[in-house]
Assembly symmetry: C2
Homo-oligomer: 197 residues x 2
Amino acid sequence: MATKSLEILIDEFNKLPGIGRKNAVRLAFHVLGMPMDDVENFTKALKNVKDNIKKCSICGDYSENDVCDVCSDELRDSSTICVVEDGRDIISFEKTCKYKGKYHVLDGKIAPLSGMTPDKLNIKSLLERIVKEDIKEIILGLNPDFDGDITSTYLIKLLKPFGIKITKIASGIPIGGNIEFADIATISKALDSRNEV
Amino acid sequence: MATKSLEILIDEFNKLPGIGRKNAVRLAFHVLGMPMDDVENFTKALKNVKDNIKKCSICGDYSENDVCDVCSDELRDSSTICVVEDGRDIISFEKTCKYKGKYHVLDGKIAPLSGMTPDKLNIKSLLERIVKEDIKEIILGLNPDFDGDITSTYLIKLLKPFGIKITKIASGIPIGGNIEFADIATISKALDSRNEV
């Protein structure tokens, strides 16, 4: 029989994405056993994230300053913009240490069924950047799923008239992946996008 | 590139049991998108759990009062005590709505290799209850793993002289489980503990 305070904390953990009831119980009991200082650091971290983080006025990524680290980095190639759905994707791209251009966060993707129409995305600010800055290439770095593809198609149509090079990240069998266990759509895509060697 | 506040929150989530780095990133971004009120409710729940919950002076389970709800419930059979490792197990037993006796929380199990010796467990208070209260049966409700079995064996030896009935919850193939996929130890146990029908 969980006590009331514990029950409330279990419910709070349970509200987080991917945390089911059993896991929530486990986490709440873990918090019970944590030293008070650690719990305070955790609650402080939760509040600080909300208090300190805003959106970069240029690319729309989360930032503690008015302009994020990537946008204010003069060593990065500002003629290339990689368009992503959200800030998490930037973390993944940055991990590769391969991309040296800038980003633009759409803050979602077009999903007509859930009411996500193009006007709800940061597309206007992308167009403004294209008009103002000297952009040579737009890389569409959206997830290769249904909504991501719709969004890419929409952006291609919208951006074509600007006469800038538009590219899209490649889809195919993941490195280290197994053709046997890949889904049909991925295998078809890998075949279609085959490269001469 | 995660901002500093975000990085700190990711680390805090990452410290929780069963939450890896990827999941921690996902949760931290979820918090970023939560309304401030919800984040405040969450931090309040975390602190309240530490501020309000102590241990029941009788059974050792977590409780908001000096004596927990189970121990203070006069409708429950106080002549039967189910000995468990921790409070989480009580939640599981209570869910069955089958057990109407009391509990005793050992707060761990004997694990010599990790330094958990019997003197670190709530065994003394169990003996006191047996001496003071009119106990007819002790149910050993410990997990059927290596340390749980050591603890059960230790308690059986310790409690036998009191002349009380000592029982142990059954082990075997889980209901709805599959013999084909059960491990050898479980199948052996299920065979050993077979019942005449």
